[in-house]
Amino acid sequence: MPACLLCLTFAIGIVLFDSLDIQLEYYQIIILYTTIIFTSLSCLFIYKYKFSCLVLIPIIMTLGLLRSHQNVSLAKDHYSLTQTEGCFSGRILDIKEKQSHLELKLKVDSVGDFLKIKSSGKLLIYWRTNQKYIPVGSRVVFKTNLLGFKENPNPSAFNYKRFLERQGIYHYTYLDQEELQLYDSEPLIFSGLFIAIKNRIEFLIENHVKRQDAISILKALLVGKKSQYLDQLKKPYITSGTVHVLAISGLHVGCIAGLFLFLLSKFKQSYILLKLFITASALLSVWTFALISGFSPSVIRASSMFSILILSNLTKKKTSVMNVLFVTAFIMLYTDPNMLFSISFQLSFLAVLSILLFQQSVRDLLPSYNSRIDVILDLFAVSLSAQILISPISVFYFNQLSIIGIFLSVLIVPLTAIILKTSILGLMFSFADFLTGTIFYLAEQLVVTQNTLVQYAAKLEYACAENLHLTRAELVFCFLIITGFYLAKPRLAPIIISSLIILNIIATRCLLNQLIKPSSPEVIAYKISNKIAQDLVTKDKLFSIWSEDIETKDYEFNIRKNQLSYDYSDHYIIPLSLLSEQDITFEWAKTKVLISTNPERNTQDYYNYVWDLSKSLINSKKKQSDFNSYSNIKQQSKLK
């Protein structure tokens, strides 16, 4: 399995670079590259392959490190090295819909007010929704003062700045309609074709499907379109752990590829030309689908894997799917090392890896009856085995673990496959209006059924374990345990692991919390624009002193993750209006302060004051009604 070592070591190199924050000079990079070349050549010619695999590890790791350094360091012609205010021109790469504005991703090609200097780099433009729509691919020119992103100073909050930096975006700007000039609204010929196909599919769906929810879901399934309405529809899918069917991935590529693979298997060796034709058309259709659906990491992964597999099938080479998976991962990481940190990439790869590693062992543990029941049991084995590597990641990023998802996937995945195949059939018959209408009506009914099923499952009491928390160290620990089990006893491992994983996550947290429990109370002041939110953590109680204008959005983005990292049994939310500011005296005290935006508020006196007040509030039942105004937020931050 050569690709396994190659890919894993390369990934470690990328992680090393990211965590150590290495800055290399030009000559150092050249020296390192030359060393790699000489070492490899000496391995080839002097030692004549008698070297150990261990020699390869530092070489690949250095290559990973250098590759990500090259990717992160600004290009010599990056626009920010010339100017950050003035004239910019470039092409719109991507548009994201937000609540009140659009987010345009621009690829800069030249800067300068009077002298046009050829440049590279990307930047974000915030564009109000009520302004003229700018299509993807259009060339724009504007004059602006670019602004840099600010880091979110709240503990454990999502680092949006880092997230964008990994995509090569360092600046943003707000533009009005009169500040921007559109040079040519016609997109490029190549991407224009895909946009045209995408628009045609959307038009067909809108024409033949009546219900708004079915339209949103079908658009998400077929062209990967994300909308505001879809975000609402997604919620029950997230709770029930079946949201992966809405993101275009292997399932979707597999549906298209399956048809061609079926055809290929029917022809014998004699029809080489026919085989070539089918292979070519399969590759074309799969990559067209990938381009239409927005080229997300999971689609690239699925399409690349399929391409390698189908090509090796043509040349009759013996292949292992695991090797193909790692080769694909290596190619993707080599082209863009930052992809390693994309959640979509991580989930997609770990799910496939998990299935490849554990599916057989899990299936062996389940009984087999007759062929019909076995199909269901097979699906269950796939669903369960995928969860083994996915669950720690899911808890780490989304703070939840869907329990019902393992069982529900058995129903939802085939249903989505049927919906997909039906709608593709509908698109193929788009020349006959009546036929398309009928097929899409069927697809619509299936989507409605799927929605109802998911919504019902999401409402079940123990559908999802919420408010879980894992730190980075604990995540690594979880993976180490899984690897340990896998290496020790591959056959017994899955059942132990799957049951242990949930226990493991909770137990590790409890254990660590007991060990590192704060002895002194902590005051955490959050920075949320013009709003005051402070948490006071004692051994088992959490008091949230929030101003009245804290919204659910503020809570989700800035406070929730940090609160989850504490282990508390009672949570009280105290409106700020109940406290009077006159009682605060400015004095630093023993209170341990993690982060402070209003340092004058983090005082021992203030803490004592809040403590007394909270106690009196809790004791008097009358005043507890004041908490009800926060019922919405409180519900989410309920006890673990």
């Binding site: 490899s40 695999c53 012609d77």
Partner: protein, 245 residues
């Protein structure tokens, strides 16, 4: 562990792949460096040219004779920022149509002497708003504070606040009226002075000329709506002509 084991063939393949990738990267790097050095040379020539233009402009210190308080240094967040008065560099920039691009320059615009074109360079000000600002300034006789921009129709408070770091006000350029010498008609032509107020001021000056020796006594004796008077006062000066004494 067998996933990590490599056969001799596989080892050979990987080492070949690594060599190939490294050679490609190295060549790529060298070619890029070659291009960037020629680019840099060109850029340097350009920068030098700009520098020459820039050096000819002396950044003058503006005299604020009538200013009671010294102007506070403008707070700029970025560390390597120079603040330059645009009034000083306006002319050469307009002639040469060149703008220094290499250094980050936070150009501060003086409101009372800026042209609509100068104002247009500010983020958030289009041609309409900037000409409106100039029109308003000419009408009232100049701005006495940055906050006064909020009085201009169509300028949002948030925009004014965001622009304030890039603006400054030279009060010495304000069109001021001397209460002791100005006629009633001249006074009433001031944007903020109504006919009634002009009449009242003139009467006061005529009747109590000797008692008024400062701004404070004037306010006291005039006995007028303080909010309205506050708007007017920056445009008035209280210097008694020598011959009348």
């Amino acid at each position: 562990m067998n996933h990590l084991y490599l056969t001799r063939k596989e080892r050979k393949a990987i080492i070949l792949l690594l060599t190939l990738l490294s050679v490609i990267q190295l060549l790529n790097l060298l070619i890029k460096y070659q291009n960037s050095t020629t680019n840099r040379e060109m850029k340097m020539i350009m920068v030098n040219h700009e520098k020459q233009v820039f050096d000819t402009v002396s950044v003058s210190n503006i005299d604020f004779e009538n200013e009671p308080k010294p102007i506070k240094p403008i707070k700029v967040k970025e560390p390597k920022v120079q603040t330059i008065d645009i009034t000083a560099i306006k002319a050469p920039v307009a002639q040469n149509k060149l703008k220094p691009t290499t250094d980050k320059l936070a150009i501060v615009i003086e409101l009372n002497s800026a042209s609509p074109e100068d104002l247009k360079t500010l983020k958030g000000l289009g041609p309409v708003l900037s000409s409106r600002i100039v029109k308003y300034r000419d009408m009232v006789g100049g701005f006495h504070s940055k906050e006064q921009l909020k009085e201009v129709y169509g300028l949002r408070t948030t925009l004014v606040d965001s622009l304030s770091s890039q603006l400054m006000v030279n009060k010495s350029i304000l069109r001021k009226l001397n209460v002791f010498t100005a006629s009633e008609e001249q006074l009433s032509q001031q944007y903020f002075i109504s006919k009634y107020l002009a009449q009242k001021i003139k009467r006061l000056i005529d009747s109590r000329y000797t008692q008024i020796d400062s701004k404070e006594t004037f306010i006291k004796l005039l006995n007028y709506d303080p909010v309205k008077l506050e708007k007017v006062l920056p445009y008035l000066c209280f210097e008694k002509p020598a011959d009348k004494d």
